[in-house]
């Protein structure tokens, strides 16, 4: 578990999501996947998309700052990281 109480598997979605977000081809592919009606969390992603995109655009060393800011709004880094949808290889 990370210092923000995030499971390693969940934090991997943030770490590699940030990395791939910088590549326009992969960003487009992730967005297409997460909004695909076959994705079980496509509707949920619609609700959280703004927060998730903000996280993925953030620099890797900004976790503390992000967590502080999110907590002022009743959220936390842990909560938003969990809203980064999984990627399913069968239709990614």
């Amino acid at each position: 578990m990370t210092e923000h109480g995030i499971l390693y598997q969940d934090y991997a979605k943030l770490e590699y999501g940030r990395m791939l977000w910088k590549r326009p081809d992969m960003r487009e592919r992730l967005l297409r996947h997460w909004t695909d009606p076959r994705h079980p969390h496509a509707e949920r992603f619609k609700e959280w998309r703004a927060e998730v995109e903000k996280l993925l655009e953030s620099p890797p060393d900004s976790d503390d700052e992000l967590d502080r800011e999110l907590r002022t709004r009743g959220l936390s880094l842990r909560v938003v990281v969990r809203e980064i949808p999984s990627v399913f290889g069968d239709f990614f």
Binding site: T2, Y8, Y11, A12, L14, E15, Y16, M19, L20, K22, R23, M26, V87, F88, G89, D90, F92
Partner: protein, 150 residues
């Protein structure tokens, strides 16, 4: 259909060969978990199969190109359908589960533009033994039996 899964170091080495041929920009990858143990066995030309096969390899990378390659082999992918195992990217922070000086004992190899770092088998076993699940204990016993650890 016969069970395929991940049980031989050759499978890991072939995947790393394919990665090395695909990646254009220099990048690093660290292999942990049973995939790392299997890599060590293959590197020492030990063909003994892992007693309880694994379903994935756990790499860590700081390269977006390597990460993209790994995403094409995630759970449910065509790669998994073909090979019977998948790639499960782990975050860099997981390395804190290893002894602080693990890099000093790690093995390093080049696969094309990719630099592979594999912690020493004794270090790879530290988080497994901490977890202590039956298959982790079996992997420890296997590593000991084939001489990866004393």
């Amino acid at each position: 259909m016969p069970r395929r899964e991940l049980k031989s170091g050759k499978q890991v080495a072939e995947w790393l060969d394919a990665l090395g041929k695909s990646v254009i920009t220099p990048g690093d990858i660290i292999l942990i978990g049973s995939g790392g143990l299997l890599w060590h066995a293959h590197d020492r030309q030990i063909q003994t199969e892992l007693p309880e096969a694994s379903m994935d390899v756990d790499p860590i990378t700081d390269s977006d190109e390597i990460a993209a390659f790994c995403y094409n082999a995630i759970i449910g992918s065509e790669f998994e359908r073909e090979h019977g195992w998948h790639v499960n990217l782990m975050p860099n922070t997981v390395l804190r589960e290893f002894p602080a000086d693990w890099r000093e004992r790690a093995s390093r190899r080049e696969y094309g533009q990719v630099t592979l770092l594999v912690p020493h088998p004794a270090d790879l076993l530290v988080p497994k033994l901490k977890r202590g699940e039956p298959r982790d204990v079996k992997h420890f016993e296997w590593a000991k039996r084939i001489g990866l650890v004393a």
